[in-house]
């Protein structure tokens, strides 16, 4: 697959899922179990993506400047600092550590 094909296919999939919500009768999915799984899916995928993005190097695991950057980000989110500022702070922490060491 080319990157363009991946982009188009994934976009169609995401839009189709949104449309499904307008087409199916609410009684089918408004039950607790499907709703709970959908909400937990979001949590699990985001947590896994954080892990891979923080520790992964290709097909391996490595602890480096990204770990302290993520810890700083968690602290700032806990203090309710706005999203964009936290993202910039995390980048700055990692860049600074790489500059010093």
């Amino acid at each position: 697959m080319t990157v363009w094909q991946i982009i188009i296919l994934a976009s169609i999939a995401v839009l189709a899922i949104k449309l499904v919500g307008y087409l199916i009768p609410p009684s089918l999915v408004e039950r607790p179990t499907p709703a709970r799984i959908a909400n937990l899916l979001t949590v699990a995928l985001l947590a896994a993506l954080i892990t891979v993005q923080t520790l992964g190097v290709g097909q391996g695991i490595q602890i480096d400047a990204r770990v302290p950057a993520l810890i700083v980000a968690a602290g700032l989110f806990a203090l309710r600092v706005p999203f964009i500022l936290v993202v910039i702070a995390a980048a700055a922490v990692a860049a600074l550590i790489r500059l010093v060491f």
């Binding site: 999915v29 607790p32 899916l41 995928l45 896994a48 391996g60 993520l70 993202v87």
Partner: protein, 242 residues
């Protein structure tokens, strides 16, 4: 044109949320270019996919696995988009039945439009909240994506600037408001462990999909979950942006 106070309040909420959220399109644009997509591909993604979590996931997996990880990248983006179908159920009653309008509403059915609109007390307020939030974020998210992509293009070597850490922080920002109960916290930790353990063993992208199984298992058994009846229909209003 005179507006009732509820509509005015809804529009004010839309502006606050919309402008704040649109601003982080800039981080998506920069990270997408850092992941190896070009400026055009990055902008098309924001125009057509228009769902932040799914977009970050797609470029995150392409960053580690390249086009070879395309299948896993598409699957991750789609799975992260499943919550939008639940949002659609919630907003559909006040969107109306005209189809061109419903199709546009579907495209704009995301965390923020759902959160703002369903928080309004009146029908007019709900409609205004949905469409104003959707329009502000759609325009803002795409403009900021373009700006971020152009900046990312200028930056060059990205790890030097810590953009890889910024991507992790961006995911954390999307996850953070969802961690208010024990069950999602346990699922998050479980999924993180599964992803870390499987990363050395499996091709890029697959560990993330495998971690999704944690959600399915805990969701089916409702392990550590709130008692039945406690989980109201608005349980995912945790998606209200900070």
């Amino acid at each position: 044109m005179a507006r009732d106070p509820e509509t005015t309040a809804a529009i004010r909420a839309s502006l606050a949320v919309g402008l704040a959220v649109a601003a982080y399109g800039i981080s998506f644009g920069a990270l997408s270019v850092a992941a190896g997509l070009d400026v055009w591909q990055t902008c098309v993604l924001s125009l057509l996919m228009f769902s932040g979590g799914s977009q970050f996931a797609l470029v995150g997996i392409l960053a580690t696995g390249g086009a070879a990880a395309g299948g896993a990248a598409i699957a991750s983006a789609a799975l992260l988009g499943t919550r939008n179908a639940l949002y659609a159920l919630r907003v559909a009653p006040f969107i109306g039945v005209r189809w061109p309008l419903r199709a546009l509403a579907a495209h704009w059915t995301i965390d923020e439009t759902t959160a703002v609109s369903t928080a309004q007390p009146t029908l007019a307020g709900q409609r205004a909240g949905f469409w104003w939030t959707g329009a502000i974020i759609y325009v803002g998210w795409n403009l900021m994506t373009l700006l971020g992509a152009l900046i990312g293009d200028l930056l060059g070597d990205v790890s030097q600037y810590g953009l890889d850490a910024a991507a992790a922080a961006a995911f954390l920002g999307l996850l953070w408001p969802r961690l208010r109960q024990l069950q999602p916290v346990v699922v998050a930790i479980g999924a993180a462990v599964v992803a870390a353990v499987l990363t050395p063993a499996l091709p890029p992208g697959i560990p993330v999909l495998a971690a999704a199984l944690v959600a399915v298992i805990v969701g089916l058994t409702n392990w550590l979950g709130p008692k039945p009846g406690k989980l109201g229909p608005m349980s995912d209003s945790a998606a209200v942006p900070r």
